[in-house]
Symmetry: C2
């Protein structure tokens, strides 16, 4: 079974901080990277950086699971381009902490298709209004 | 109709960065605050800070819509305490960018109950695997 590497791509810095926040809870995680695009920064640079990470994962025999903040904008546009160009990539929109916790807990035991399903189920279950 | 103020509480800094990332897309937002707890920081300080924001919102006649990263841990424990103690508070778990965009787009037009429903529906709809 291929290993699954995580790559988060967001507007701004929140994906980078999201990984740090999850690691506060779960400890340091291998193969977990985040990229962000800031106002005025080059989309081409972000694209190059993304491709470099995907190619490195491929060389190491790893799938790449990309999370983006929203569908629309540079993070998802670049991810869609990669999804067309390369195999062994999956793309999930709407990243949050629940998704990442499920990913890090389950990625060593699930193939990527089943992993994606599990992540989305956990996220849907975990997003709710809490009332008394 | 009461105005709705947003308060995000997370492990680490990602809530703070999430607001900045949303503002990159939507421009600056009023009544949008974020707090984070870092390793070794005092839970009592976070609780005091949270309460201060809620009371200020109350004074100004605003509801407080709290978003936390996950159910479990200090951010949600403190929020649950506030939910018991004060009225005009709602609590949603699993914060992501989709939720915030929906909140900022809709909060001036919806009462908080309907707003919460709308936010959760948008988030569930927006979280998906993208395939070709």
């Amino acid at each position: 079974m291929s290993k699954t590497a995580v790559l988060i791509i967001t507007h701004g810095n929140f994906g980078v901080e999201l990984i740090k926040s999850v690691e506060m809870i779960m400890g340091e995680q291998e193969d977990a990277k985040a990229l962000g695009i800031k106002l005025g920064e080059s989309i081409e640079d972000l694209k190059r950086e993304t491709e470099k990470i995907i190619l490195k994962n491929q060389e190491e025999g790893k799938d790449t699971l990309i999370f983006v903040d929203i569908l629309g904008g540079s993070p998802s546009n670049i991810s869609l381009y990669m999804l067309k160009k390369y195999e062994n990539i999956k793309l999930i929109t709407g990243v949050n902490m629940i998704m990442l916790i499920e990913t890090f807990q389950s990625r060593d035991f699930e193939k990527i298709d089943m992993l994606v399903e599990k992540i989305l189920n956990s996220a849907i279950e975990g997003m709710k209004e809490i009332k008394f």
